[in-house]
Amino acid sequence: MEIRPIFASLRKHRIPACLIVLEIALACAVLCNAVFMISQRVSDIHLGNAIDEPGIATVVLRGTDDKLVGSDIPRNLAALRGIAGVQAVAVTSTLPLSHNNWGWSFGLDPDATISDQKSHNVSLYFVGEGADQALGLRLLQGRFFNGDEYAGSKFDTAPLPETHVVVITQSLAKKLWPGQSALGKTLYSMPHYYTVIGVVADVLRPAIGTHSGPYTYDSTYYPLSADGSKGVLAYYLIRSAPQDRDRILREAEQTLAKLNPGAVTKGQTYSDIRNKYFADMSSMAWMLVLVCVVMLAVTAFGIVGLTSFWVGQRRRQIGIRRAVGATRGHIMQYFQTENLLLTTAGVAIGMGLAFGINVYLMQHYEMSRMPWYYLPGGALSLWLLGQASVFGPAQKAASVPPVVATRSV
């Protein structure tokens, strides 16, 4: 198809042509960045977490008497085990994404302290016996804690527990000892030290900040006896088949409230915890989706409006072309090619803009570089949008009868 006449005609309508190009360019720039933001949030919301998420429910028990925990915890656990359908119960200090974070920094040298620049900040999970079962942790190397290690571990006045064993996540193991086995290695924070006896599949930290990053999975596990837990062990975990979970949670909450009348109980399924953590993020993602849809609609309106106007203006011109032998298909093609040219110009400018906005966001917000395929993806969707919106007006143009050419000359 000859495109020179199209250029000639566009030159005569410079302002409307520029407006369409500008509109496409802006839409392309905003669309690419918005879709990229959506994809980042969606991938954060679906971050992997190697625990049995659908089977876990938890009751947080706070405001108990620290002096009595040694007898309270075993009694509470026994009562929870008595609920029909319960597969495993245990007590821990926190859960992934619960916001209840206990962080500490460890180094790899015996004289490392918390303030050393080289120390790594990790999240600490203190767990009672059976927590590996109740959480559904997947052991990859080594072993989990044995009975002696649970019984021998307690809190005194120090911020870290008195024990010398730790289980860490796979990501952390790879980061601390790249290319080596982590088993038997030691984490130090004067005067404490802990030897790695097991490596588990990646479990999220209790808080991962606003966006996932390289520290998302830096979790460590320490055994803790009920006796020496000093009120730290407050999360009662109850694992069951997913279909029993909600009923069991209600029963567990009542059971614990009855056994501990002076305390405050709060039950949640693990799915609740996760949804709550990402609630802001998912509402932001939905808002972005809404903006994209409306923006594309507005852009399409604009194209439809301006092209219809063009068609109206060129009725006689079209009639003449039809009279001298152009088929309806030719006329359709003319408007579609014209739109393709305008969209291409718009997309070219839009890609530059999209890239610029991305660089700006990277400098001022926690944003990573947009992968290259967003640009051709954006271009393709705007080409399709352009063609779809020009279809109606072009058909109207094609239906102009040749006889128009003979009128009012």
Binding site: P16, S115, T157, A158, V298, T299, L306, F309
Partner: protein, 434 residues
């Protein structure tokens, strides 16, 4: 004459309903999105204590080790150790000064059968209430003497007083906090600065109803109430005794009367840091004294997502305005003949220009009204979001008028190009064509 333009504009808008609807809708969507996000942005970046914020300052020191310190670049620590907080308080270099940390308190209603619950509590010192203009419904705060003696007393928020005592004057009564009895000395009127500036970086929420109970720092510590957030900078052997541990967990605020006082306090603060270095306690000389709004900016209290949303909404509004320009242009060029006739009958270019601007303004006003509706819908949507500030998202009178300013501004800007094109049309060719 204006009435005539108005009539012409309305006729013209009525003639092409689809195009008019598209314009109004596009503009309204852009305005709705912009006003919604701006309302949230304004809510989050507002001044929580307008009458006082210029006089409130947040001193900062840095007890961290030299390791990793870069002169002029390393920011001082956001919170303070107990030792430093008490040293600053006892120096009395400001009109008022208070140290504070957030905690959770278990509250047991006295009526039988009620369950205990946890509430946000603040452990602080005597000047807190006067310094932050916290208004009292009944009673008052406590004194510096109460601070020193560790008296078992508490100030409670109005919502807690409503819950426990049905809103009656409860001064002198006792409440059970963390399984101990406290005497109520004051009940606040509803008071919840947004954002809760004094809780920033102490581990609390920034928005919401505010704290339920306020108790003297020493008293709270005596019954082992712990801060929400603790940051240690050296090996700790005894975390129980936070007063001596190398850990930071207190925020300190001071009230300063004027610029001279601020300058004086600043030099006092750096003098204090130097003195601590000389004593071997500190290794870094960095200090800071930000005013309330400066501290909130430094803390980036407005979430990134909210600012991104506002930027996005403006981009969207721009697209809508460009779209409106295109549609208005299409409309006015289609009416070349009408313009030709009016020009031939004696209308000046200026009059044609005015006529088209009036038409654009009408589109703008219609877009504004519809945009307001969209904004209300958007805010309704936001209020149903789980964010902690969500319930505060309402359109105020200022934003209401601002909507129309934006709508009118956007439509007039959009109208300039088409109106200019219309008024420069030469009348003769148009007449001939007709």
């Amino acid at each position: 004459m204006f009435a005539y333009y108005l009539d012409l504009a309305l006729r013209s808008l009525r003639r092409n309903k689809v195009l008019t609807t598209l314009m109004v809708l596009a503009l309204a969507l852009g305005i709705g999105a912009t006003i919604t996000t701006l309302t949230v942005l304004r809510l989050l970046s507002g001044d929580p204590l307008p009458q006082k914020s210029a006089h409130l300052f947040y001193p900062q020191l840095d007890p961290n080790a030299k390791d990793g310190y870069i002169v002029g670049q390393t920011k001082p620590a956001p919170t303070m150790t107990y030792v430093d907080a008490m040293n600053l308080l006892h120096a009395h270099r400001a009109v008022r000064q208070a140290a504070m940390a957030l905690s959770q308190a278990k509250i047991l209603p006295q009526q039988g059968g009620k369950h205990p619950f946890f509430s946000d509590a603040v452990m602080t010192t005597a000047d807190f209430f006067a310094m932050f203009d916290a208004p009292f419904q009944y009673g008052g705060g406590w004194t510096a003497a109460d601070d020193d003696s560790g008296a078992q007393l508490v100030v409670i928020a109005s919502f807690l007083n409503d819950k426990l005592f049905g809103g009656a004057d409860s001064v002198g009564k006792t409440i059970r906090l963390n399984d101990r009895d406290f005497r109520i000395v004051g009940v606040l009127k509803p008071w919840a600065p947004q954002p809760r500036f004094y809780a920033q970086d102490l581990g609390g929420r920034s928005y919401g109803d505010g704290d339920a109970a306020f108790l003297p720092l020493r008293t709270a510590r005596a019954i082992d109430m712990g801060p929400q957030d603790t940051e240690c900078y050296a090996a700790v052997t005894d975390i129980k005794h936070l007063e001596t541990a190398p850990c930071m967990w207190l925020g300190v605020w001071v009230e300063l009367a004027d610029d001279t006082a601020v300058a004086d306090y600043r030099s006092f603060l750096s003098g204090y840091a130097q003195q601590q270095i000389a004593q071997g306690r500190f290794e870094r000389p960095e200090t800071a004294l930000l005013d309330l709004m400066g501290w909130l900016r430094d803390q980036q209290v407005v979430p990134d997502d909210v600012r991104l949303q506002a930027g996005l909404a403006f981009g969207f509004l721009l697209i809508c305005v460009v779209n409106t320009v295109g549609l208005l242009l299409a409309k006015c060029l289609r009416r070349s003949q009408e313009i030709g006739v009016r020009r031939a009958l004696g209308a000046t270019r200026r009059e044609i220009f005015t006529q088209f601007m009036v038409e654009a303004a009408i589109v703008g006003m219609a877009g504004g009204v519809l945009g307001l509706l969209f904004a209300e819908l958007g805010l309704l949507g936001i209020r149903h979001q789980p964010a902690e500030y969500a319930s505060l998202a309402h359109l105020d009178l200022g934003m209401f008028f601002f909507t129309f300013v934006v709508a009118l501004g956007a439509s007039l800007i959009a109208g300039i190009l088409p109106a200019w094109r219309a008024c420069v049309l030469a009348p003769a060719p148009q007449l001939k064509a007709a």
